[in-house]
C-alpha cells in the first residue's frame, strides 16, 4: 500500500467482514457467510483444548455440508474460568466450557437446525422469557469499559484485514498525514495517559523528553510481563497484536525513531507466534518498512525474546538483554531517554500503554480524560485471579473500587469463604485488607495505602490464606530473581527470607518482627534498581495490615489460617467421624488408626501433614488447628 486512500479503500472493502459481530461497522459480507463461530484461542482456552474444538467445528461443518458458516479463532474474551468459550453470531449465543463432544450437537442443532442449544449456553445468558443475551451483556462485563481490550475476542488476531476493518492503522495514517510529531506528543500529554507497566509515569512527558536531533533513536515495547500471576499484556498481544505495532509506529514518528523492538517473554509462545505473523503482514502491506503509506516515514520493528528473568522488565536491564548481555540494571542517570539501547536515546513503554494510543489519537485527549479519575484517566486492565469466582481479565475505569471488582464483576469468593485481602503490584506491591476494600483504585490511592497499581495482577485471597506465607512466597521469588549486582538486594532479601522462614516455623520472636521491618527499610533505601527497592513491599504491607497474624506465629506459635505446616496439626473431630476408614487407607504415613465405624485418630508424631485426609474426608470430620 502506498497511500492513505488505499488503506481507506481496504477498510471499506473489509468492513462487512465484521458485520455479524457486536463491533459491526455496518456493511454486509460479500462472501455469503451467514454465521460465524468465534472461538477463543488465548493461552487460557488453548490450555483447555480450544484448538481441538476449532478443528472439530471445521470438521463437523464440512461433514454437514454447511458452506455459509465460518470459524474464527479470536483472542481472550476475559472469562477464562468459563473456557473454552465459543460464541455463535449473529445470535450471539455464548457456549461456555465447551468440550469436543459438544461440537457435533451445536453444529447439528444450531448451525444446521437454527436452534440455539440452550443446555450448553452459559446459564446467565438465558433470560426469564427464554431469549438470550450476548457475552458482553452479562454481569461480568456490565461495569467494564474495554479500550485496551477493544479487539480482544472480537477479531481474528492473525488477520490484518479484520484489524484494519475495525479502524486499524487509521490513527497511524492520521498522525503521518495530519499531525506533526509535536502535535502527537501534545495530544498524548493532554490525555494524561500514565504508563501501565507499573510506575504510572506520564507517557506524553516521556516522549517529549527525547531531544530533537539527528541521532539514531529507538522505541521499545516492554512485553516481559514479569509479575507472576498476571496475563494482561499476554492477552493483548495474543488478541490484538497489530495495535502494538500501530502504536509503536506512532510513537516512533513522535520521537523520531525508525526502529522499534518488542521484548517479549519466551514463556508466551502464542503471543510470539501472533506477533511474528502480525509483523510480517504489516510489512507486506507496507504499514511497516520504508516510506509507510507513501508519507516518507520509515519504521520497522524487531522481536526479541526474553529468557525468564524478572529483572529484565526493568528498563536498563531489558536493554542489556536485547544487547545480548546479562540482564543487569545499571545506575541512572543517564536516563534511557538520553542513553538507552545501544547507547542511543530510547523510549520504553508497556504493552497496555501502547494499546491505548491509537484510540487517543482517533478520539482525542478529551474523550480519554472523561474516563477514569482526574489524575489517572482511562482504564486499567486487571488480571483477576486467586480465590475468586470468575477468574479472568477485566478492564475497568480507573477509580472503580476493589469491592466492585471482587463482588460485582468477580462474583465474590467461592465456597462460602470470606474475603481476606487482595494483592496488587505483584512482588513489588502490597496487599489491600478488607478494611480498605472501598478504596477507589487508581495510581495515587494505591500507593497511599502502601501498595501500587503495578502491571495489573490482582490476586484475591480468602480466609484460608496465611499472610506470612504469602509474604514469604513473594520474597522467595525476589531472592530467585535478584540479579545479584548490588548487596542490599542480593544478601538483604536472602536474610529477610531466612527470618520469615523462621517465623513460619514458629522459631520467631517479637524482636524479630522489628528486625524484619528495619531490614525492609534498609533494602528499600539502598538497592540499585526497582526490583530491590520494592522487594520488601509485600512484607511491609502484610506486617502493617496483618500484624496480629505475625504475632500469632511468633508468640502463640500458631498459624491462624492453618497453612504453615510447622504450626498446625490435622485432627479428627470424633463427633463427625463416621469411621469410614477412607483417611486411614489413604494416609501415606500410616498415621491414622481406628476401627471401622468408630471415630479415628491421627498420631501427631507420625503425621507428615500432607493434607490428603483433610481433602478427602466426606464428612468434614478432619480439621486443622
Amino acid at each position: 500500500m502506498n497511500s492513505v486512500a488505499e488503506l481507506n479503500a481496504l477498510r471499506e472493502k473489509y468492513k462487512g467482514s465484521l458485520s455479524l459481530r457486536p463491533i459491526s461497522k455496518g456493511g454486509t459480507r460479500d462472501d455469503n457467510i451467514k454465521r460465524e463461530i468465534l472461538i477463543c484461542g488465548g493461552t487460557g482456552c488453548t490450555s483447555s483444548h480450544s484448538t481441538d474444538i476449532i478443528d472439530a467445528f471445521n470438521e463437523e461443518i464440512k461433514k454437514a455440508g454447511v458452506t455459509d458458516t465460518k470459524v474464527v479463532r479470536t483472542g481472550c474474551f476475559g472469562l477464562c474460568e468459563l473456557g473454552p468459550i465459543v460464541i455463535v453470531y449473529p445470535e450471539g449465543a455464548f457456549y461456555s466450557k465447551v468440550k469436543v463432544e459438544h461440537v457435533k450437537r451445536i453444529v447439528d442443532e444450531h448451525i444446521v437446525g437454527g436452534n440455539v442449544v440452550k443446555e450448553l449456553l452459559y446459564p446467565e445468558t438465558i433470560q426469564d422469557d427464554g431469549s438470550i443475551i450476548g457475552i458482553f451483556d452479562t454481569h461480568f462485563y456490565e461495569n467494564q469499559c474495554r479500550i485496551a481490550l477493544k479487539n480482544c475476542g472480537n477479531i481474528d488476531p492473525e488477520n490484518i484485514n479484520e484489524y484494519i476493518a475495525n479502524d486499524g492503522y487509521a490513527a497511524l495514517a492520521k498522525v503521518l498525514t495530519e499531525m506533526t510529531p509535536d502535535e502527537v506528543i501534545e495530544e498524548v500529554k493532554a490525555s494524561g495517559l500514565r504508563g501501565r507497566g507499573g510506575a504510572g509515569f506520564p507517557t506524553g512527558v516521556k516522549w517529549g523528553s527525547i531531544k530533537r536531533d539527528d541521532q539514531e533513536k529507538f522505541i521499545l515495547c516492554n512485553a516481559d510481563e514479569g509479575d507472576p500471576g498476571a496475563f494482561m499484556d499476554c492477552s493483548v498481544l495474543e488478541g490484538d497484536p497489530h495495535v502494538i505495532l500501530e502504536a509503536m509506529a506512532i510513537g516512533g514518528y513522535a520521537i523520531g525513531a525508525h526502529q522499534g523492538y518488542i521484548y517479549v517473554r519466551a514463556e508466551y509462545p502464542i503471543a510470539v507466534h501472533r506477533l511474528t505473523i502480525a509483523i510480517n503482514q504489516a510489512r507486506e502491506y507496507g504499514l511497516l518498512g520504508k516510506n509507510i503509506l507513501g508519507t516518507g516515514f520509515d519504521f520497522d520493528i524487531g522481536l526479541r525474546l526474553g529468557a525468564g528473568a524478572f529483572v529484565c522488565g526493568e528498563g536498563t536491564a531489558l536493554e542489556a538483554s536485547i544487547e545480548g548481555k546479562r540482564g543487569e540494571p545499571r545506575p541512572k542517570p543517564p536516563r534511557m531517554t538520553e542513553k538507552g539501547l545501544f547507547g542511543k536515546p530510547s523510549v520504553l513503554n508497556n504493552v497496555e500503554t501502547y494499546a491505548n494510543i491509537p484510540q487517543i489519537i482517533m478520539k482525542g485527549a478529551k474523550w480519554f480524560t472523561s474516563i477514569g479519575t482526574e489524575k489517572s484517566p482511562g482504564t486499567k486492565v486487571f488480571c483477576l485471579v486467586g480465590n475468586i469466582k470468575h477468574t479472568g481479565l477485566v478492564e475497568i475505569p480507573m477509580g472503580t473500587t476493589l469491592r466492585e471488582i471482587v463482588e460485582d464483576i468477580g462474583g465474590g469468593i467461592p465456597n462460602g469463604k470470606k474475603f481476606k485481602a487482595a494483592q496488587t503490584g505483584g512482588p513489588s506491591g502490597g496487599c489491600i485488607p478488607e478494611s480498605l476494600i472501598d478504596t477507589p483504585m487508581d495510581f495515587d490511592n494505591l500507593s497511599k495505602i502502601g501498595t501500587m497499581m503495578g502491571s495489573g495482577g490482582l490476586i484475591v485471597m480468602d480466609e484460608d490464606t496465611c499472610m506470612v506465607d504469602i509474604a514469604k512466597f513473594y520474597l522467595g521469588f525476589t531472592v530467585d530473581e535478584s540479579c545479584g549486582k548490588c548487596t542490599p538486594c542480593r544478601i538483604g532479601t536472602k536474610r529477610l527470607l531466612e527470618m520469615l522462614t523462621k517465623v513460619t516455623r514458629g522459631e520467631g520472636t517479637l524482636e524479630m518482627l522489628d528486625e524484619i521491618t528495619e531490614l525492609c527499610h534498609f533494602i528499600k533505601d539502598n538497592s540499585l534498581c526497582g526490583l530491590g527497592q520494592a522487594a520488601p513491599n509485600p512484607v511491609l504491607s502484610t506486617i502493617t495490615h496483618f500484624r496480629d497474624e505475625y504475632v500469632s506465629h511468633v508468640v502463640d506459635k500458631k498459624c491462624p489460617a492453618g497453612v504453615c505446616k510447622a504450626l498446625m496439626s490435622y485432627n479428627i473431630d470424633p463427633t463427625k467421624c463416621r469411621g469410614c476408614t477412607l483417611c486411614a487407607r489413604n494416609c501415606p504415613a500410616g498415621a491414622v488408626t481406628g476401627k471401622i465405624k468408630e471415630p479415628h485418630v491421627i498420631d501427631p508424631n507420625k503425621c507428615i501433614k500432607c493434607g490428603v485426609c483433610y481433602d478427602n474426608c466426606r464428612f468434614g470430620a478432619i480439621y486443622k488447628a
Partner: protein, 164 residues
C-alpha cells in the same frame, strides 16, 4: 538464580553441530546476537552444555566467560538435559494461592526428584515456572507443552502413568 549442574556426558551429533553453525552464521552480524543464538541452540540440543557454549563463543567471537554468564543468568537456559517428559509446574502467584506448592511437593515425592532435577532413567525432568499465562485455570502444570489446568494432587499419578 543458582543453577545445578549434573555430570551427564555430552552426546552431540554432527548434524546438530551443522545446524548450530548455520545459526551462528545467520546471526553473526546482528547486534545482540548472543540471546537468539543461545535460544535456538537450546532448541537444537535441548540444553546448553559447555561444549555447545564453546562453539558459540568461538563462532560469535565473544569470550566464553560472557556466554557462560548469560547462560547462567536466565532461567530459560538449561545446563542440564531435559527428560523425555518435561514437567513444569507453575509456581506463579495465582497458582500458588490455589495450592500449586502442594502439587510440586507431591510431584517431587512421586518422581523422587527435586525441582530442577531429572530422573535417573532420563524419563522425567521437573521444573518450576513462574506463570505460563493460564492463571485463569490455576493451578496449572505443563507436560511437554500440554497444559493441565485446575490441577489437584490426586490427578498426579494418572498423569505420570499416562506418560509412556
Amino acid at each position: 538464580m543458582a543453577k545445578r549442574k549434573t555430570a551427564v556426558p555430552f552426546q552431540g551429533t554432527a548434524e546438530q553441530e551443522k545446524k548450530l553453525r548455520e545459526i551462528i552464521e545467520k546471526y553473526k552480524s546482528v547486534p545482540g546476537a548472543v540471546m537468539p543464538v543461545l535460544q535456538q541452540a537450546q532448541e537444537v540440543y535441548g540444553y546448553l552444555p559447555i561444549e555447545v557454549q564453546k562453539i558459540i563463543a568461538e563462532g560469535l567471537d565473544v569470550p566464553l566467560s560472557e556466554i557462560y554468564g548469560v547462560t547462567t543468568f536466565y532461567s530459560q537456559f538449561s545446563l542440564n538435559p531435559k527428560g523425555k517428559y518435561e514437567i513444569r509446574i507453575c509456581l506463579g502467584t495465582a497458582c500458588y494461592v490455589k495450592g500449586s506448592g502442594n502439587i510440586m511437593q507431591k510431584m517431587e515425592e512421586e518422581l523422587g526428584i527435586q525441582d530442577g532435577g531429572i530422573t535417573a532413567d532420563g524419563k522425567f525432568s521437573l521444573d518450576s515456572v513462574r506463570c505460563i499465562g493460564a492463571c485463569g485455570l490455576a493451578p496449572a502444570m505443563v507436560v511437554n507443552g500440554e497444559v493441565y489446568g485446575r490441577m489437584t494432587t490426586d490427578k498426579i499419578r494418572d498423569i505420570i502413568a499416562s506418560c509412556e
